[in-house]
């Protein structure tokens, strides 16, 4: 659900950068200091996989695309801060080398897909895990992607409110166009992907996956 460069004006992207920048600083310092040597291999591998699964995008009406994110798992295994940094890194690499997403919209995309989505996924997972561990992973990933999609559509709707010549699709049209594929297909696939990856991590004995 990347928003591409040029779909949001600086009146939206600059404040988003203002919010995201201190959070990046805090999350990197907290999670990727010198003590992170042991966790870096798995984080790097999951980030690479997230990069690949996010590269397959299907355009949907309203100014964005539908795709998996693959970062909820990072929030489950570590914390939402790690997911935020890794997703931001994925978005930065995609923006710089592949023209997907973009630099100006990096703050918005990172906050929606890297913080709000994985944050919600982490909360759901934590709440349900003691009762149903597998269902918790699926539900967390499913909810996470819905929250991220909702965040992206709210920002695009705000852009339409601010300047309808810049973003001509109104929120009332954009919301169902974006949420329907997310609720029916992408969320389910993301949940299954998360379950499968957790099971593979256990099989590979790389860490004590939940």
């Amino acid at each position: 659900m990347h928003i591409p460069d040029g779909f949001l004006s600086p009146s939206v992207t600059l404040p988003a950068w203002g919010v995201a920048a201190p959070l990046w600083y805090w999350a990197v310092r907290r999670n990727f200091g010198t003590s992170s040597t042991e966790s870096l291999p798995v984080v790097g591998a999951l980030t690479a996989i997230a990069f690949v699964v996010q590269s397959i995008m299907i355009p949907v009406p309203g100014g964005t695309s539908a795709h998996l994110t693959g970062v909820a798992i990072l929030a489950f295994l570590y914390n939402p801060g790690v997911a935020f940094v890794c997703e931001s890194l994925v978005l930065l690499l995609q923006a710089l080398f592949f023209g997907a997403g973009g630099f100006t919209v990096l703050g918005v995309n990172a906050l929606a897909m890297g913080l709000l989505g994985p944050g919600a996924a982490w909360l759901v997972h934590r709440a349900l895990r003691p009762l149903w561990p597998r269902a918790a992973a699926f539900a967390g990933a499913y909810v996470g992607i819905q929250v991220a999609t909702l965040g992206v559509s709210l920002v695009l709707g705000l852009q339409n409110r601010l300047d309808s010549d810049y973003m001509p699709v109104p929120f009332s049209v954009m919301l169902p166009a974006m949420m329907l594929p997310s609720l029916t297909v992408v969320g389910v696939v993301e949940g299954l992907y998360t379950l499968a990856t957790l099971s593979l991590l256990r099989k590979a004995r790389l860490l004590d996956a939940p």
């Binding site: 990727f32 010198t34 040597t37 870096l40 291999p41 690499l93 309808s164």
Partner: protein, 187 residues
């Protein structure tokens, strides 16, 4: 004349300011003028970067714009075309400037004064590279084991084992890269 890494950092800073400025353009005339200026400024290698934009950026941004326009049209209100043309035009222009600038700077050298960022960047690039290599090798291996061309079912059946191998290999790979970078002073 600035020396590295200052030169790359200055170019990156100028690029960051310019892409935000370009993202503020709304009129088609302004976008056309900015595109002409960008082409003039980055004429060396412009064809290569334009091809890259055409392959990587235009299909998705044009698809998004077209899908949005069609959606509104189907709902009964034929929307004006200009804003829907401006959306992919702006995206393509920003991508062209980005690709052109990145071809003229040394990104890793510019990031060197920020060791944690550089370490994360190198690690992720190396992992992505390793992933591509593994995917190619796995596809070739699958093809060599089957008497026919592997179908979607064969690929899905083999994907579990490939992912386990990927995670194991990439863990080893990351450890090696991390050790190599630490030994070069990246902490």
């Amino acid at each position: 004349m600035l020396r590295e890494p200052r030169r790359s950092q200055a170019i990156i800073a100028a690029w960051a300011v310019s892409v935000f400025a370009l993202s503020a353009l709304t009129g088609l005339a302004a976008l056309a003028m900015a595109s002409a200026a960008a082409l003039l400024l980055f004429r060396r290698g412009a064809l290569r970067e334009m091809r890259r934009v055409l392959l990587a950026v235009v299909p998705l941004s044009l698809g998004l714009s077209l899908a949005s326009w069609t959606w509104l049209w189907l709902l009964g209100t034929p929307p004006p075309v200009a804003p829907f043309v401006a959306l992919p035009a702006r995206t393509s222009l920003i991508a062209f400037v980005t690709f052109s600038v990145l071809g003229r700077v040394d990104l890793l050298r510019a990031a060197a004064p920020f060791p944690t960022s550089a370490r994360l960047l190198v690690l992720c690039l190396a992992q992505i590279h390793a992933l591509r290599l593994l995917a190619t090798e796995s596809a070739l291996g699958l093809r060599s084991r089957l008497p026919r061309r592997p179908g979607t079912r064969d690929v899905l059946q083999g994907s579990g084992a490939v992912t386990v191998a990927l995670l194991t290999l990439s863990a080893r790979n990351s450890r090696d890269i991390g050790d190599a970078m630490r030994s070069r002073g990246f902490h």
